[in-house]
Structures are given as C-alpha cells and as structure tokens.
Subunit: 446 residues, 2 copies
C-alpha cells in the first residue's frame, strides 16, 4: 500500500480493519427475522387471571360457555310481546296491563299474558312469552297498573339474546395476544380464572468500560457513573420483560468473558453496552468470537445514532453489543432489540392483513403526527432517529422541534417527547413537513 492509495480511500483506517461497512436497516431486520424464525419459542406458564394484565396468551382462548345464557334486558322498562306494541304512538298509545315484575338475579318462571307486561330492570331476565323490552322513556303510567306505550318495539328490541355476546366454542383471543383490561373482564365473565401465558423473556445486561463506576459511587477523577445499566433495565421492564444486572466489567476481557458466560447460561437475550468500537480493540467482538456460535452476524448498522452495533447469536439466544453512548444505546434498543424482545416474548401483532404489519420485526406504529419546525439533513442509505420535543401551536396542532445534542448527552432524550425517523432513502426532511412521532417506551398497542 503506498501513500497515494491512502489519500483516495474514504476511510482508510477502518478499511484496514475491514469494518468500513454498516448494514442497512432493512438487511439487519432480515437477520433479526431469521433469528426469530429459528427460535424454539418461549416457555409457557400458568398464572391467575388477576395477574395477567400485559402478559401474552400462550394459546388461543375459546369460550367454554355462551354469554348470556338467557336473554336479558339491556334497558329499564317493561318486558312485552313486541306485537302488542305495533303501531303505538304518542297520539295512539298501546295499553298494556302491568301484571308482574322480574326480580333481579332470579329466573322468571312465569310471564305476562298477551296485552300484559312485566316491569324489568337492566340486566333482568326476559320472562317466558316475551320477545322485547319497551324502554321506560317510551311509556307513560296510566294508573291502576295500566301502561301506555307510545312507541313500538321490534322483536329482540332492548334485549341481548342468548349467545349474543359470546357463542360456546368461539375463539375469544388468539395466542400471542397481550391481555388488556377488557379482555380480563370478558374472561372473568366466562370463569376463565387461570391462563396459560408465555414466560417473560429474561434479558441479561452488562456494562463495559474502564471509565464506568456504579451510580451509587462517587466517580474518582476520570470516571463517570454508569447511565446505560439503569436506562436499559428500565427499557426492558417497560416492554414487559425481566432485566438482570450483570454489572460493570471494565475493559478486562476475563471479567467480560465470565459475566457473558453466566448471562448466556441464564438469559434469553443478552445486551452489553460499550466495547463495540475500535477504541477498546473491539473487546466485544473478541469476547463474542470466543463464546458464541454461530457468532457475530452483524457488525455496524447504518443507523444514526447507533452505528457501532454488534448482533450475534449463541444457539437460539441473541446477543446485542450496543454503543456506549447513552442516546445511541437507547436508539439501538428501540429500533433493534425491542421488536425482537416482543417476538421472543411470544407477542403476535393483531392488525391484519399485510405482511408488514403482522411482522414483529418492524418499526412500531407512530403515536402522533406533528409539523416539523426546522430542516433536518440526513445521509442517503442511513436511517436517522432524531429526538423531538412536542408543543401545541396556538391552533392546537402539534409541532415537533428536534432536540439536537451529542449522542453522549442523555439530557437530549430527557428533554424530548419522542423520536422522528428519517428513512434511509431520504436525504432529510423539510421544515413545515408533517412527521410521524414515535414512542418506544411502551409495548406496541396492537
């Protein structure tokens, strides 16, 4: 190699190391999809329904019985034969005799005769012979147990028929569904008190770097407190997984190897932060090369922030080497680890029918649209994540202002409400354009 070669190469030092390339996000997603496809799937455990909020169903749930089992009134009013009310109006009401009452919580054994009716409250069981309920609002008391009906009701009116809510054997929820409050209400109504759910993924986290001390220590000169452990543990928790702290290993390879071995034995997914750039002689690359098989699949992702990411696998277990800069680590987690973690937890997204939407390895749905307040430049071929602060304009619309700062300055994220994403095929976004705003702090809603 002579000097003139050096001068024309765009990034000679990295070329020498064979690491100038960074994989486009789409290519990285394909790798993550293959990891998901090869995974044997999470373990299953049985829990009480009252602990199931946010957990993932491990099997489809079918209705063991129908709901309701008997037709019920959905209004306060009078149980009638609908035909007795046909043609009724305020000027020409139908007259019915109130001959009884439905008691709440009791099965009526008798019902009104034709041209008679029973008082009934919301939730009351429809008595024999009746096929509808006249709303209280459409009646006028006429004395001596006589009732004027001023509006007709059709058969089935104001009642919920047997099986109208749920039919016996019906699939209520598919496997891979994240339980919401309404789901738990319906399951309670059907007496489904124990549920098969997928085990929460266990995520081992290691911090690397000789300059890092635990947050409870006062850093001596030259050192700083570890921000990534606390942030990544909370990110994992916010996704419904379990984060496990394997501590700070410095830049000593032996310590790193020991903690990584333990994490690989105990966890479903492992993340370490730092040690992925050339500064520490690619400590992460060396350790993964020793301990993992098939080993490193990706080294470098065309995402800003978050380029120096390593993705490796040990058997079915993914290992992510995340950048040491806290903003880069957060962006890499959001974009790459989060969707894989959802998949390893058994989550299947529920919006059909396109492939893209049903695919767990994807950028989640944005949660807001806002007007961008300044121009943003981006390199083509690279996906950019930009933290934005949201405000409401005087007209009530959302506006998004990029929070600029170095990726080592976590305060930029703290000042922001969410992120915008500049796709790899774009070279920037213009001020005034409508942008989608993403939040990665909760599991995907659907």
């Amino acid at each position: 190699m002579n000097k003139s070669d050096h001068h024309t190469a765009p990034a000679p030092n990295l070329d020498m190391l064979g690491r100038s390339g960074a994989a486009p996000l789409a290519e990285v997603f394909e790798v993550l999809k293959r990891l998901m496809a090869a995974h044997p799937g999470p373990a299953v455990e049985e829990i009480e329904a009252d602990e199931a909020l946010g957990r993932i169903s491990a099997q489809p749930l079918y209705a063991p019985e129908e709901l309701p089992v008997h037709p019920r009134s959905v209004m306060d009013g009078y149980a009638v034969r609908a035909a007795d009310t046909y043609g009724a109006s305020a000027n020409l009401p139908a007259y019915l005799t109130i001959s009884g009452e439905v008691k709440m919580g009791e099965m009526p054994t008798a019902g009104p005769a034709p041209t008679e009716c029973y008082r009934i409250a919301t939730g009351g069981l429809l008595p024999p012979g009746c096929d509808a309920v006249v709303m209280l609002e459409h009646t006028v008391p006429a004395g001596d147990n006589l009732l004027e009906v001023v509006k007709p009701v059709a058969p089935g009116g104001n009642i919920i028929a047997r099986g109208d809510d749920v039919q016996t054997g019906e699939e209520l929820l598919p496997a891979g569904h994240r339980f919401r409050p309404c789901d738990l209400g319906l399951l309670a109504g059907l007496g489904l008190g124990r549920l098969q759910v997928f085990a929460r993924p266990r995520v081992g986290i290691i911090s690397t770097g000789d300059e890092i001390v635990p947050p409870e220590q006062t850093p001596p000169p030259g050192k700083i407190r570890d921000m990534n452990m606390a942030g990544l543990l909370a990110m994992v928790q916010s996704q419904g997984a379990v984060g496990i702290n394997y501590g700070i290993v410095g830049d000593r390879e032996d310590d790193f190897v020991a903690q990584m071995q333990q994490a690989l034995a105990e966890c479903d997914l492992i993340m370490f932060s730092g040690g992925t750039s050339v500064g520490v002689g690619d400590l992460g690359e060396r350790v993964l090369g020793k301990l993992t098989s098939p080993g490193i699949l990706i080294h470098g992702v065309a995402v800003k922030p978050g380029k120096p990411v390593i993705i490796a696998a040990h058997g079915p277990k993914p290992v992510f080497g995340l950048p040491g800069h806290p903003v880069s680590a957060a962006a890499s987690f959001a974009l790459l680890v989060r969707p894989l973690l959802a998949g390893l937890g058994g989550r299947r997204h529920s919006i059909t029918p396109t492939e893209t939407a049903a695919d767990p390895i994807r950028i989640p749905s944005p949660v807001a649209t806002a007007t961008l307040q300044r121009n943003l430049n981006s390199a083509a071929g690279r996906t950019d994540l930009v933290p934005v602060k949201l405000q409401t304009s005087p007209t009530g619309d959302l506006v998004a202002t990029p929070v600029l700062g170095k990726s080592s300055a976590l305060s930029t994220l703290v000042r922001a409400h969410g992120w915008i994403i500049i796709d790899a095929h774009r070279q920037g976004l213009d001020s005034g354009s409508q942008v989608a705003v993403y939040n990665f702090d909760t599991p995907d809603l659907w």
Copy 2:
C-alpha cells in the same frame, strides 16, 4: 298532569323522576376540574430509583453536579490542538506525531506538545492542551508514530465539553413527570438514587347487582359472573394506580352502605358499577345521599355508551357510579375516571403551551389516524364512543371498522383495537373520513 301532556313530553317517565337531563361532557369536565382544584394533592413517598419506572415525580429534580465534569472524546481517534489540523486535506495532509495515549478511566496529567497528538477512544478524557479530537476515519497511519490528518477539525470538534450534557443546578425534570427509561438513565448518571414520588392513588371498587356472582362461582340460573370488577381493577392498574376489591354487594342497601363506608375511609377514589339506573330504585343515589358530603354533583352524562353515570364527592374524595353494562363502564372509566385518576396521582402533562393540552382533565391524544369504513350516526349534544377494529389496507394505510354490539356485550371491546370519539357538536361521521383512534389502556404518553 293530564294525558295529553304525557303524549307530547319526549320522555315522560324520566321527567317525572326529574332525571331526563344528562350533562354535556364539557360540563362534566368542569365538575372534574373543580374536584381536582379542591384536592389537597397526593401524599409523597421516597423510593429507590430502580423502582421508579412509571412513577410520578413529587418535586422538580435539579442536577447536583455537572455532566460531564471533564471534556471527553465522543469518537475514537486522536486528541489534538485543532489549529494543528487547519487546511489539512487528502492531498495535503497535516502530519502529527503520536506521542502518547489516553487510558480509559484515567485522568490524563500530561498532554501532547504542539504538532503532536494522543491516541484517544470514545469516552476518553481530553488531555491538557488539546481542544478537539480527529476521527480515526480522517487519519492515515504513516509509520514510525507519524499520523496523516486528511481533514481539519474545529475547536470543540468530536468532544463533549464540561457541562455540555447537564449544568450544575439545572432543572432536569419538573414535578408531576412520569419517569421514563431515559430519565432513570440520566438520574443514575448524576447519582440520584432515591426519588420523591407521589403515592399511587388507591381506588376502591364495588360491584352491585343481585344478579352478579364472583367469577370463580358457577352462576345459578338467573345469575351471571361479575365482569366489571376484573375489568375495572385492570383499568386502574394500567394507569399506575392500586385497585382494591370491595366485593359484590347485591342490591341490599345495608351491604352497600357498609362497603362504601369502608372504601371511603381507605381509598382516594371509589367506583361502583351498577345501581345507577332506575331499575334498582337508584340504589347508588340513595347510598351516596346518605354517606357523602357534598354528595352527588352529576347524575347522567350525555355520552353513549355511559349515560347513567353518577359523580359524587365526599370531602376531597371523588365517587363514581358507573353503569353496570361492561362496555358502558369501560367507556365511562376511560373518559371520566382516567383523567381524574391521573390528576390525583400528581401527573402533570408536559406539552405546552396551550391550556387545553396542559389540562389533566381532557380526552388524551389519539394514537393513530385511520379511514372510517362506514357511516356512523350520532345525536347532536351527545359524545359517542365507538369501538373500532383496525386493519391495514393493501396500500399500508390503517382502516377502522366500527365493532357494533350492545353495550352489555364485552366481546365488542375485545374484538376492537381502540375507540373513535364523535364530538357532541357532530351528528355523525361519514364513511371514508379520517378519524382519530384512541387507546385508553396506558397512561398518557406526555
């Protein structure tokens, strides 16, 4: 009152009871705002930072020190005097002698002389005399500790200066902020290990109705399992509050009074479901009349589903009587209880500057926009909530299909992804229009 009067009155039976009116949502929100304004505020407790995800800060947090305390490199490369690189290019590189190295985690006591440089890794401390870092990518090794720099760097380039992330005394987060993962990362970086947070609101829940049995029982003929307790407990939990089950009181006033007294003594907010319509002789109204002062503030809300809602107060404690129908109870919780619960938990929304957005008593931000798949009618003056199922169209856009069903059929919510809201001033929505989709299952994002 003579018969002809009955015939022209729109809802004579309810008029007789003095209950035909239902308060518009805006008026109900004003009542909730007054309840909030009169509330003394939640208690404060101190917790460990690693338990703080999703909790609400009880005081503003200020930086006890600056970050970083010493300028650091944000790139792998060489620490230099920027002036030594001015004018450098690939064809005319600047030549610097590599005279040392910055060790990670150590404070450099000496630095390079002019026209010299030190090797430095990401996170390394800038040595004395240097004011910038040249990226590795912009250098070429030239043998014998000689380095070619092929691109100039400006002073401050590729470093994070002292205090660039956080200044001493700076407000990091305001009171009323919901802690996110990035917040906890930054607080760890500053050694803030114990945090003052607001106590989680305690919410007492009572189910009423003689027809209701606990979910673990097989209902005898005429009875059904309680769906509302499980659903409401989970809704409360999903908002970061604590739900407490006070059981099923049937329609017996004495039982209801006893449980309500206990709940009023032990909880910050009380909800009961059922017992708010005339069918049980307004049991809820009677019990609240006996036990609460100032008592009932609202009886009936112009919302569908969810009209027969009671809002009362006992001192600073709000009491909600929710409809017995599970869909109506869910809608009433989402629209009325949820924002008040956020306020009672000390939450302050973070999007400025309009009054509307900063107000905790409000409909939260929608989480998606979709194309409505059919016409929906609505009565003017009434706010409608309609559950919708989302799908992606072949072009990848979201489409929303209303899930129609009776408000006693909880399966309609289970089949839906979210809700759309038809404002009181509208009489419906046209098929093909763009609609905002709401999800009430998480706390507001900002």
